[in-house]
C-alpha cells in the first residue's frame, strides 16, 4: 500500500477504463492485435493498481471473487468449447463459427469463446499471484529464528 493522493485518484479513475479496455482487447482480438491473454493482463493490471494504491483488502472488496476459482473456471470454459467439435466427431478444438456476424462484435465462434476462457484464466492467475504476495506479510508474519543464546541452558529438573 502506498499512501499517495495522486496515485489513489488516478487508480480510482483508471479502474473502469482499464477494465473496459481489456474487454475491448478481447473482442477485437480475433482478427486484430489483442486477444484473451493481453486483455487478461490489462484487467489484472487494473486490479493490481488498486492493490498498490489501496492495499489488498480493498482490492478484494471491489471485485469480491475467489480468483483461483476464476482461473479454474476459465480453464474449464476454454476446454469445454473445444469439446464441441469432439462431440461432432472432429478433432478437439476444430473451430465452429456462427454464419451471421453480430453487429458491433463481429463473427462469433468457438475460438472467440476459447479466448474468453483464456481471459478469465489470465485474470485469475495474475491477480491471485499479486494478491497472495501482497497479503503474505499479514498471513505469515516473518518468522525469524531467535538470536543464538549466549548463556548455557538451565539444567532441567
Amino acid at each position: 500500500m502506498y499512501e499517495s493522493m495522486i496515485l489513489r485518484t488516478i487508480a480510482r479513475l483508471m479502474l473502469p477504463l482499464l477494465l473496459l479496455l481489456s474487454l475491448f482487447m478481447v473482442v477485437r482480438g480475433h482478427h486484430l492485435p489483442g486477444g484473451g491473454f493481453v486483455g487478461g493482463l490489462l484487467a489484472s493490471a487494473a486490479i493490481i493498481l488498486q492493490i498498490v494504491a489501496f492495499g489488498p483488502d480493498y482490492a478484494r472488496e471491489i471485485i469480491p471473487v475467489n480468483y483461483l476459482r476464476v482461473a479454474a473456471t476459465g480453464v474449464g470454459f476454454a476446454a469445454c468449447w473445444g469439446l464441441l467439435a469432439l462431440v461432432q466427431g472432429q478433432p478437439f478444438m476444430a473451430a465452429r463459427w456462427l454464419d451471421t456476424p453480430i453487429p458491433g462484435i463481429g463473427k462469433l465462434g468457438t475460438p472467440v469463446m476459447f479466448d474468453i476462457g483464456v481471459y478469465l484464466t489470465v485474470i485469475g492467475v495474475t491477480t491471485q499471484l499479486a494478491l497472495v504476495l501482497a497479503e503474505e506479510p499479514t498471513l505469515y508474519p516473518l518468522r525469524r529464528s531467535p538470536p543464538p543464546q549466549t548463556e548455557p541452558m538451565a539444567p532441567e529438573a
Binding site: V132, Y140, S145
Partner: protein, 117 residues
C-alpha cells in the same frame, strides 16, 4: 539486424551464466530470467530471417500470397515461452521468498540441510 541480435543473445547468455554462478539466491533468479530472455530472442532469430513489416496474410483485395513474409510460428513459440517463463518466474520468486524466511539467508551455501548426511 541478425548480427546485432545474435550479439545481444550472446550477451544475455553470458550475463546469465555470470549471475547464475554467484552464491546469492536473488542473482541466481535474475540469471534464470536473463537466460529465458536470451532464449526467446534466439527463437525469434530462428525463423526465415528477420523480415520487417511483412505479415504473412493473403492480400484481401487482390488475393495474392506474399512471396516474402515474416514467419508466424516463431511468434507463437515465443509467446508460449514467455507465458511459461512468466509463470515460472512468479513461482520461483515466491519460493525464494519463503526459503529466505525459512533459512534466514540469501546465500545458497547455507541451504545444505537436505544434502547433509
Amino acid at each position: 539486424m541478425t548480427f546485432i541480435l545474435s550479439l545481444v543473445v550472446g550477451t544475455l547468455f553470458a550475463g546469465a551464466a555470470y549471475l547464475m554462478l554467484r552464491r546469492s539466491l536473488v542473482k541466481l533468479i535474475l540469471g534464470l530470467v536473463l537466460l529465458s530472455h536470451g532464449t526467446n530472442l534466439l527463437l525469434f532469430l530462428m525463423g526465415d530471417g528477420v523480415v520487417k513489416g511483412m505479415p504473412p496474410f493473403v492480400d484481401e483485395a487482390t488475393g495474392v500470397t506474399p512471396t516474402v513474409a515474416a514467419d508466424p510460428l516463431n511468434q507463437a513459440l515465443i509467446l508460449t515461452a514467455i507465458v511459461i517463463n512468466f509463470g515460472f518466474t512468479a513461482f520461483i520468486l515466491s519460493l525464494a521468498y519463503r526459503t529466505n524466511q525459512a533459512v534466514n539467508s540469501d546465500d545458497l551455501d547455507d541451504m545444505v540441510e537436505t544434502d547433509r548426511l
